[in-house]
Amino acid sequence: MSFYNTLEQFDHFDFSSFFNSVSDDRVRDCLTKEYLNAYDFLTLLSPKAGNHLEMIAKVAQKKTIQYFGKTIQLFAPLYISNYCTNKCIYCGFNHANVIDRRKLTIEEIEKEAKAISSRGIQHILLLTGESRQATPMEYLLEAVKCLKHYFASVSIEIFPLECHEYVLLQQAGVDGLTLFQEVYDKVIYDKVHLAGKKKDYHYRLDAPERGAMAGFRNVNIGALLGLGEMRSEFFFTGLHARYLDDKYLDTEVAVSLPRFNPAECDFHPEFPVNDKTFVQFLLAFRLFFPRAGITVSTRENAYMRDHLIHLGATRFSAGVSTSVGGYAQHQDQSTPQFEITDGRSVEEVVSAISSNGYQPVYKDWDRAI
C-alpha cells in the first residue's frame, strides 16, 4: 500500500462538478461536524466555501487553541549545501542555474549553529539540495551530530532517502522529516522536474511514509502551491496527511503551504494562489485535521504571518537565511533557494507573536527523548 492508491481513486474525479454542487448549507454543515471526511474537506476548499471565511475562521481558531493553546513554535532552517543534480524549473538551486555552489564544512556548520542558537533558536531544520556526491550519508550524519550539540531538536529537509538511511539519521538524533511532493499532479510533476533523481514521482511520494516507518516523530509534508491546480493539489496534501496519520499512530503529521511569492520574478506559476484562497486552505485543513501542525515559513510576509497566528498556524521559522552559510556571515554570499519576504529577526518575530497574544515557544523537545 502507498498513498498512491488513494490518489488513484481520484484519477477521474470531476472536481469542478463537485464544486458546482456545493451549497451554502453543505458548507455550514461541515462547521459543526466533529470529524470531517475527505468530501467535507473538499467542500471547505470549494469556491463556495470562500464566501464563508469568517465563519470557518472562528471554528479554526477555536480548534487550534484547543489543541495547541495560544502558542507558536519557532525554528530556523539551515542550508548546508546547494549542490543539486535536479532540474526543477522553479528552484534557485536548479542544476542548470549558474550559481556559486557551496557546501559547508563541519566547522562551518558549527559556526552557523552557534550563530543561530545564540539567537535563542532551539529547533533546527537542516537543508540541502539533492546530490549524493556532494552530500553523502556520512556527511549528513556528521552534520547532525554537530547540530545535536546546539539544538534540542534537529529535523531534515533533504532529498528522499531509503528507509534504512532514514533509520540511521533517526538514530543519530533527527526527530523530524520535512519533504514536499511539490505537485501531486503526475503530468505537471513530470513537466516541472526536467532531470535528476527527482523525476521519480513515486520515490518522492512514498518518502514521507518511509520516514514514518523509520521512526521520525514528525513528518511535515506539502505541495508547492502554484504548480498544479491549487484546490486539488491542496486536497491531496490533506489526504496524504490523513493517510500518514491513519497508518502511523506514533507519527505527528504536519503540513506546510508553501506558495510562490511575487519576489521570485523568474518563475511565474501557472496557478498562483492569492491571499484569500491561501487562508481558506489553511482554515479548511485545520478543520479537517485539528491536531496537525501547520508550518508557515518566511515565504509569507510579516503581515500575513502575524494574522495567520490567529487562524491555525502553529510553527514559524524566524530570523531566516535561505542561503548556504548565510547566518555566520554578514552578507549572503550564495543564491537563496527562494526569496524570503519576512526578513525580521528572531527578536522581532518573537515580539510580534507576543503582541498578538500568543506565546513564542523556543524549545519543545529534548535530546533525552
Binding site: E252, R291, Y358, Y362, K363, D364, A368
Partner: protein
C-alpha cells in the same frame, strides 16, 4: 468531616487542584493563575524546560512553595521516560515525576505497559512517581505494588475537554486503590472536575481548560471552587443516585 489534605511522598497538599504549564498565551499568566486557583502543584514537560535560556525558562514563572511536577511528555518508551526523569531531577526539579509515555500521536493514549516499566525503576530510584494511565484496575494494582505514589487515570483524551468518559473505570480505581487517584486529562469544565471529586477522586489535574480559557486566571479560580465543592460533597457523603425511585416512606414498611 475535615479534609486533612492529600499526602504524596512527604508533601501534603491542601489544595486538590493540580495544574499545568502548557498552552498559555504567555507564561506570565502562570503565577497569577496559581495564586487565584491556590494550586500547589503544577506539571511541566521537561522538553519545554530550557535551563540555559534567560528569556524562555518556564521554571522562573513557578513561585516557591508550588511543587513542581516534571513530566516525561515526548517519551515513547520506559527507557526514555526514565532518562527524562533523571535529567529533571539533576536539573533541580525535585523528586516528583509524572510518567507520561505515549506511543500514539493520534489519540494520545498512554502506553500502560511502558508506564508500568518506568514506574518500577523510578520508584526504586526514590522518585515520587505519578503514572498517567488508561484506567485499568489490575494495572493500577501493579503500579501500586511497584511503588507508585498515586494513579493518574485519564477522564478523556488529552485536550479534548470531554470530561469523565471513563467514569466507571475510574470508579473501580477509587474503590480499590490503596494509593490516591488523581484524574488527569480530558476535564474541560469545572462541573466535570466537581463530578470527579464528588465520586471520590483525591485530586484532579487540569491544564488545557484553564490555559486556553479566555481568562485563565478566572478559570483557575473557578476550577478551584469546583474541586472544593466536589470534595466537600464527597466528604459529606452525598446521598448518591439510584436507578429505582425511593419513596420517602418505605413501601414495605407495613411488614415490620
Amino acid at each position: 468531616m475535615n479534609d486533612e489534605g492529600l499526602r504524596l511522598g512527604d508533601t501534603t497538599f491542601t489544595n486538590r487542584l493540580f495544574t499545568g504549564t502548557g498552552k498559555f498565551a504567555s507564561n506570565e499568566i502562570i503565577p497569577e493563575m496559581l495564586e487565584t486557583s491556590g494550586s500547589q502543584m503544577i506539571t511541566v514537560a521537561l522538553r519545554r524546560i530550557d535551563m540555559q535560556s534567560v528569556t524562555d525558562n518556564i521554571l522562573q514563572y513557578i513561585p516557591d512553595g508550588v511543587t513542581l511536577l516534571p513530566n516525561t511528555s515526548g517519551a515513547r518508551t520506559a527507557e526514555q521516560a526514565i532518562r527524562v526523569a533523571r535529567i529533571a531531577r539533576e536539573a533541580g526539579c525535585g523528586k516528583f515525576i509524572k510518567i507520561e509515555v505515549i506511543t500514539d500521536a493520534k489519540y494520545l493514549m498512554p502506553d500502560n505497559h511502558e508506564t508500568l516499566r518506568a514506574t518500577e525503576t523510578l520508584a526504586k530510584d526514590g522518585f515520587v512517581v505519578l503514572p498517567y494511565v488508561l484506567p485499568d484496575l489490575p494495572l493500577a494494582k501493579r503500579l501500586e505494588n511497584a511503588g507508585a505514589a498515586a494513579i493518574m487515570p485519564l477522564g478523556a483524551p488529552i485536550g479534548t475537554n470531554r470530561g469523565l468518559e471513563t467514569k466507571p473505570l475510574i470508579a473501580m480505581l477509587i474503590e480499590n486503590s490503596a494509593v490516591p487517584v488523581i484524574v488527569d486529562a480530558g476535564i474541560g469544565f469545572p462541573s466535570q472536575a466537581a463530578a470527579a471529586m464528588e465520586m471520590g477522586a483525591d485530586a484532579v489535574l487540569v491544564n488545557t481548560a484553564i490555559a486556553t480559557a479566555e481568562d485563565p486566571v478566572a478559570m483557575g479560580h473557578a476550577f478551584s471552587l469546583a474541586v472544593q465543592a466536589g470534595r466537600a460533597a464527597y466528604l459529606a457523603e452525598a446521598a448518591g443516585q439510584s436507578v429505582v425511585a425511593r419513596a420517602s416512606s418505605p413501601l414495605t414498611g407495613f411488614l415490620d
